[in-house]
Symmetry: C2
Subunit: 191 residues, 2 copies
């Protein structure tokens, strides 16, 4: 039996994207964004949504670029911190002890210690209400060499990403491999 919860923003899984930008004084900043996801395969794009008062929002509008750094489990406290305070009030790199690296491809910094990086150039903006959605073309993906599989691609079991639970307000790691995509459903396919 299903019950109605009303109009809410609850869905699974929800990401923890650490969005990196520069402000007009070249100060690097990062924030945690849970509203977003890949939005196009060709050109490869990712969309993120930010509240209007966000320091990062102004930075993206001015610099037309951002990065997304995907944290591993060991950085869950730092990632949460990035979502609690504003870059207006604190130097988040200084306080967290993490390292900003200037992208050579887009006008934005990323987090050196995080295993997976997307470098994005702003291509589309839409005002949806409380949030503005920014779509960035993914110009490059960078991965820690030690977090790759035998094909040289990111290995999720080494990246150890985590997910935000917007109902229970907690972070969860990634669990067991449930089977191969575009494959385990074949047994159901009409013969």
């Amino acid at each position: 039996m299903k019950k109605s919860l009303g109009a809410k923003t609850i869905v699974y899984p929800t990401p923890v994207f650490i969005v990196g930008t520069y402000d007009k004084n070249e100060k690097p900043d990062v924030m945690a964004a849970a509203w977003g996801g890949i939005s196009c395969s060709q050109p490869p794009c990712v969309s993120i949504s930010l509240q209007k008062q966000r320091y990062t929002l102004k930075n993206i509008v001015e610099r037309e670029a951002f990065t997304i750094s995907i944290p591993s489990e060991e950085y869950v406290a730092e990632s949460d911190y990035f979502g609690i305070v504003s870059g207006k009030d604190e130097d988040k790199f200084l306080e967290s002890g993490l390292t900003h690296v200037k992208s050579k491809i887009v006008d934005a910094p990323y987090v050196k210690e995080f295993p997976l990086i997307l470098e994005c150039k702003l291509v589309h903006t839409v005002d949806l209400g409380r949030h503005t959605q920014f779509t960035g073309e993914i110009m490059d993906v960078k991965v820690d060499e030690k977090a790759t599989d035998t094909n040289g691609l990111p290995d999720i079991t080494k990246i150890k990403p985590f997910t935000f639970d917007p109902a229970g307000m907690a972070y969860y790691g990634i669990g067991n491999n449930l089977g191969p995509a575009f494959n385990i459903g074949k047994k159901i396919k009409k013969q």
Copy 2:
């Protein structure tokens, strides 16, 4: 040391949204979409991106509505199947044995057996290239009563959602609780 992978659509976590629509003959259909996420808090919105040739794309344009059903781990094969075949060729509800329910709120069906449902009215469309991004206002969220916590909200450990790994092409369950959101980062916050 980081290595460059080029412009790719790899990010974690990536969802498995089962998108429900009716076609012009009232035939219910579902497809699996991995490109998407919540995109606004007020009004509550979720965005999904579909390739242009998708049967579902035409349905959303015509009916201006869709649902997102979140599958639990036990339905990973059915969910994969929904992404392998087209509603043009097969009746996916018939073949999978799952049950379609007509939403009372929007002009679209959802999957009865799946524990969490979002019912959405189309509010914004943008062509990003190979994919068209549809943003729906979430009119209601429905949850299985047996999958709720003591507050009556969805319990992620009972919902048992899973994630798609776009690098390793596999599905993964949700793992351990890593700590409370908007809380565990406070220890880093400047005093």
